[in-house]
């Protein structure tokens, strides 16, 4: 069932056991799992079926620290959430991403990759993925990894009919929880707004917050403030340890034989470090995206190489004259070390139409990030030399420790952390089952529960975690 307003939903006798806030990949996946188990669920979607400026305006906010995207651009507020603009790139976090790293504080999850692997077949169906191939080791330090370019499932489009026909799932559009109320043990109700108006309080046995990697923290911070700590009793880490995947062009490569790596349909191949290399160099995970270089770029690269290694430049020039592909751009996206100071705060001066403070995002890359970028490129370059596969040129600003360029990709629009998973209530917000510490009926879905970000796009992992949470609640909740 899909309703265009809360008023239309309220006119029915449908009584949900579970209230899910948000209809993105996490919210929709959990709702489908619970609905399939016969559990009545309501999904509150703040936006409509389509994009609207009025709805999107609720996402405006500000950023303090490093340059970042406008907060009303980097996410979407309508049916299907941010799946409506994702690129479809998929890979699940590596086994090593879940493990604590002695050289990086506050790393390590309370679950392992094995805990989400049983759900990967479902993830493949939901995201319409081919089978993942295993990583290929090209040295002790570097893995050739797979990043699937999937059809980019729009959850609103793909599942609208199914949700509409479901007898166990009610999706209520244009309706959202401006705040949750709680007594320190349970969420006792949600103050709802629908179509621009306060429509009163709503209760359910369970609440699952799936409003996105920025908004989850905002809603819980505001709710906790309003209920004097009654929604997140252990709030020391709430909003903190927020992470992105910084993404910049890191340099170029000359390749002895471009066909050495089976590139995908867009002539790209991806490389990541082994855990041993990360440990030795004390760096985080990274992904190097190798893209065939446009011809103009090759000429300047060869000219640069001629100053240092003339014979090799001559060889490259010969390859070019034979119209052979032999050069690539190297884009690097890498894992940020979790830092409590990277956080979502509530603005003290700016509120939305419902009076909820807007987000003030504090985000800054650390020295660890620069080291990961530089040492990662050195690692890749060294591997190409040792295996006689090619040569790497690292961009000057990276070698010289210069400022990050401001005219590049900046980051991946991947919003992770803020309500991270863990066992230590001073350093995490939810437990291994995504339940808010100290609360009996409040859960969180989505990438805000990530403890670490790995190097890959988060949607596949978000979906796997949502399947796992849906499965857990299906066994827990009796109808």
């Amino acid at each position: 069932m899909i309703f265009d307003s809360y008023e239309a939903f309220r006119a029915t006798n449908f009584t949900p056991k579970v209230c899910i806030l948000g209809s993105g990949p996490a919210g929709t996946t959990i709702a489908r799992k619970l609905g399939a188990a016969g559990i009545p669920v309501v999904v509150l979607e703040a936006g409509s079926r389509e994009f609207s400026d009025d709805s999107q305006d609720f996402y405006r906010g500000s950023t303090v620290g490093d340059p970042y995207f406008d907060l009303d651009i980097t996410r979407l507020r309508f049916l299907g959430g941010s799946s409506n603009h994702w690129a479809g790139w998929c890979r699940v976090l590596d086994k090593q991403d879940f493990e604590p790293k002695a050289w990086a504080p506050d790393t390590g999850w309370p679950i392992s990759r094995a805990d989400i692997e049983p759900y990967l077949p479902e993830v493949h169906d939901i995201l319409e993925l081919p089978d993942f191939r295993p990583d290929v080791s090209i040295s002790d330090d570097i893995r050739w990894v797979q990043l699937i370019k999937s059809p980019a499932v729009r959850f609103g489009e793909k599942y609208a009919d199914e949700l509409d026909k479901s007898k166990n799932i009610a999706v209520v559009l244009n309706t959202y929880a401006a705040e949750l109320a709680g007594d320190g043990r349970r969420v006792t109700g949600a103050k709802l707004w629908s179509s621009g108006q306060d429509v009163g309080s709503f209760t359910a046995d369970y609440f699952i917050v799936c409003t996105g990697g920025l908004e989850n923290s905002r809603l819980l911070l505001w709710s906790n403030q309003r209920s004097n700590g009654g929604v997140v009793p252990n709030a020391a880490a709430l909003g903190r340890y927020w992470m992105e995947h910084p993404t910049f062009e890191g340099g170029n490569a000359i390749l002895a034989d471009y066909s050495e790596f089976e590139v995908d349909a867009t002539n790209e191949a991806f490389f990541s470090p082994t855990l041993a290399a990360m440990e030795r160099l004390k760096i985080m995970n990274f992904g190097i995206r190798l893209i065939e270089t446009p011809y103009a770029g090759i000429k300047s690269l060869v000219a640069d190489l001629a100053c240092t290694a003339p014979d090799m430049a001559e060889w490259v020039a010969y390859q070019l004259s034979q119209n052979l592909r032999c050069a690539a751009q190297l884009y690097v996206a890498w894992e940020q070390a979790p830092q409590a100071s990277n956080r979502i705060k509530l603005s003290k001066t700016d509120v939305d139409h419902a009076g909820v403070p807007r987000i003030e995002l504090h985000w800054k890359k650390s020295e660890m990030e620069h080291r990961t970028l530089l040492e990662g490129l050195r690692l890749f370059g060294t591997t190409l030399v040792e295996k006689n596969l090619g040569r790497v040129r690292i961009a000057d600003w990276i070698v010289n420790g210069g400022d990050y360029p401001t005219n590049e990709e900046l980051a991946g629009h991947h919003h992770m952390g803020g309500t991270r998973m863990g066992t230590d209530v001073t350093r995490s917000v939810v437990d291994a089952n995504s339940k808010v510490h100290g609360m009996d009926n409040l859960y969180v879905g989505g990438s805000s529960v990530f403890c670490t970000s790995g190097e890959c796009n988060p949607t596949a992992t978000i979906t796997a975690l949502a399947c796992r949470l849906g499965d857990h609640l299906s066994k827990l909740i009796t109808v």
Binding site: T308, A309, L377, R378, I394, V399
Partner: protein
């Protein structure tokens, strides 16, 4: 005008300045001809990750 510039033309000075960076002494290139130098050693020069033998 100094004694130096009286004896050498401005053109010659400019040509010398242009050539200077191409000399290995001024490019900071590692030793490539020494009998002790390992030709397979990995070196980083001007942002390039190379094999020492690439520099010959």
């Amino acid at each position: 005008m100094s004694f130096f510039t009286k004896k050498i033309s401005r053109r010659a000075i400019m040509q010398a300045l242009i050539v200077l960076p191409t000399l290995s002494l001024f490019r900071g290139l590692p030793e490539t001809t020494s009998s002790n130098a390992d030709p397979d050693a990995i070196v980083e020069i001007n942002g390039w990750i190379l094999k020492r033998s690439d520099l010959v």
